[in-house]
């Protein structure tokens, strides 16, 4: 079967129902859609194990922070790849920052281990079931998750770097 955005989406929706898969679009040719925390693990397992789809390579996953979206502040993006069909797919899960819990994918992909640790390190997303959810790039003693948008890049109290015209 030739994989196209339409037939893959149709297959996924018929498996998981329209209430669990929404906002499908393809910003750069890669089909992107949203799902919820309850579905994501089963969905990625389904994509991996389905004979026809064979989307069995976890290219990357990363966190994104949208402070202005109420109750959808945090997002985890999964990008998967089917090497057999040369087809890529991107899945997003939004959840509130007050409850930053996601299921782990380490049982499906060994590669997810460090990617999830990185996402935890940067955004504070708690991956339940992860074998060793500790910081990976930053020091253990760090008290915050630095990629969240409320943390500025530079120390804002410094006066020697203020540039009125170009907004440092």
């Amino acid at each position: 079967m030739e994989l196209t955005n339409e037939n893959v989406l149709g297959k996924i929706i018929s498996e998981f129902g329209e209430e669990n898969i929404w906002e499908a679009y393809s910003p750069d040719g890669i089909m992107t859609f949203q799902t919820n925390r309850e579905t994501i693990h089963a969905l990625i397992k389904y994509l991996r194990d389905d004979e026809e789809l064979n989307i069995n390579f976890l290219t990357t996953l990363c966190g994104i922070h949208f402070p202005d979206l109420k109750d959808k502040e945090l997002c985890v993006m999964y990008q998967l790849h089917s090497m057999r069909h040369n087809y890529r797919i991107r899945i997003k899960v939004f959840f509130p920052i007050a409850d930053p819990v996601m299921p782990t994918m380490t049982d499906l992909y060994a590669a997810a281990n460090w990617m999830e640790r990185e996402t935890f390190d940067f955004y504070g997303v708690q991956f339940t079931g992860h074998p060793n959810l500790t910081r990976i790039l930053n020091i253990e003693e760090m008290e915050y998750h630095p990629m969240l948008k409320q943390y500025p890049l530079e120390d804002q109290t410094r006066e020697d770097k203020i540039d009125t015209y170009f907004g440092r």
Binding site: D28, L58, C62, M83, I136, L137, N138, I139
Partner: protein, 414 residues
């Protein structure tokens, strides 16, 4: 009864232990060995705490992040053109590939099509970078197995590649090569001459390097069946690039999702069979030959035309025009100050980096900086498998496995 027999047959040592109130048998004692963070054999700053049973590795705990510089965070505050120097510092053995991968990502977002000539120049530079990357990896593998000569011999050729970089962009290691929209200048006659000379000289050097290692009994004995990984495990661990191809899977971004006119060139994807250190070495060797083939084709068929796209909002105007034309001055000012907004969008672009699929996931909210820029760094993803690959092996083999994986600390930590 059995216990009685046992007590009756105490060895001299056991009798001694019993008399002195010690445990009869010594417990198996593991040695903790700290490999790294700064160790000549890790070729970069990362640590492995090994549990050793004699010479055998029982367990390993990798620690990374020693040169984490928060590139993803910095990128959120920088105008697009200022992010290129950050990408230099990821895989610093093949900076031009990172630079151009990033440029192509932004071009995809902006919808800029780059002229053929610029694409071919990019291909030449990227393949030179791949050669220099593989050359370091394979020669360092030689050094770690005790063969220093090959390393010194081919390192000279890397200098010649760096001479070409210098002629093309002015820098040698952290190149910051090209611009969003093309190259910053055309290939000069001297650069073309240097590339031509390199193409003539290098095959002989590489053939000799191969001769020194490929059938070398000592080298083969040290690397064969060392640090092997199966294709399934490699896929699960997210391997890409030469390390994945060594396990027998012919995945290459250049062929599967051609970018920058790679579809115009004829080349083959070498694959291994077992995924061991020797296979990785052979795959890299062969890839160097294939890269040479690509450079030759691009060099011969270099199209005429402009070396950059016509995108005045993003591509700096020529300096002489900045001083004479009002329009060019305005564009120059706005670009340098980073005051040009990119359109809203979301793109993923990947290139075949020196050690795997190097991906850039970029979200733009319509501002002057990216909203989010995530680097898919191949090293970071496949280095997880290192623990599994070295368990049960010897310490000396672990060093060779590490070298053959081509883990670059800059890319690992970003």
């Amino acid at each position: 009864m059995a216990t009685d027999i046992k007590t009756a047959e105490l060895t001299e040592l056991e009798q001694f232990r019993k008399d002195h109130g010690l445990a009869l048998h010594e417990e198996r004692q593991l040695t903790t060995l700290n490999l790294g963070p700064t160790h000549p054999a890790t070729h970069g700053i990362f640590q492995n705490i090994l549990q050793m049973d004699g010479e055998e590795i029982v367990d390993a705990v990798p620690t990374i992040g020693y040169i984490h510089r928060a590139f993803e965070k910095i990128a959120e505050r920088r105008p697009f053109y200022q992010i290129t120097p950050l990408t230099d510092r990821m895989n610093y053995c093949s900076s031009p590939i990172n630079n151009m991968g990033y440029h192509m990502t932004v071009e995809k977002l902006l919808g800029i099509t780059v002229p053929k000539r610029a694409q071919y120049i990019r291909v030449i530079m990227m393949e030179l970078a791949r050669i220099s990357d593989h050359l370091i990896c394979n020669s360092i593998l030689g050094v770690d197995s005790g063969a220093f000569t090959g390393f010194l011999y081919v390192m000279q050729e890397r200098e010649h590649i760096y001479d070409i970089y210098e002629e093309v962009c002015g820098a040698r290691l952290t190149t910051n090569m090209g611009r969003i929209g093309g190259m910053e200048r055309d290939l000069s006659p001297k650069a073309l001459h240097l590339i031509g000379e390199f193409l003539k000289r290098f095959p002989k050097v590489w053939a000799e390097f191969e001769k020194m290692f490929t059938r070398n009994r000592i080298f083969v004995d040290r690397t064969k069946d060392v640090g092997a990984i199966s294709a399934e495990r490699a896929l699960s661990y997210g391997f890409t690039g030469p390390n994945l191809r060594a396990t027998g899977i012919d995945y290459d971004v250049r062929v599967m999702n051609p970018y920058s006119s790679y579809e115009d060139f004829e080349f083959e994807i070498p694959v291994g069979a077992k995924g061991d250190t020797y296979d990785r070495f052979l795959v890299r060797n062969e890839e160097v030959w294939q890269s040479l083939k690509i450079i030759e084709q691009a060099y011969k068929n270099l199209p005429e035309g402009s070396y950059h796209a016509d995108a005045p909002h993003y591509y700096l105007p020529p300096k002489q025009e900045v001083y004479t034309s009002m329009e060019a001055l305005i564009y120059h000012f706005k670009i340098v100050m980073g005051e040009i907004d990119a359109p809203k969008g979301e793109v993923y672009h990947s290139v075949e980096g020196g050690n795997g699929e190097l991906g850039f996931y970029l979200i733009s909210d319509g501002g002057r900086t990216p909203y989010r820029l995530h680097f898919r760094r191949p090293c970071f993803i496949y280095y997880q498998a290192y623990t599994e690959m070295i368990k049960g092996g010897q310490l000396a083999d672990a060093i060779l496995t590490l070298s053959s994986l081509n883990v670059i600390a800059g890319e690992l930590d970003a």
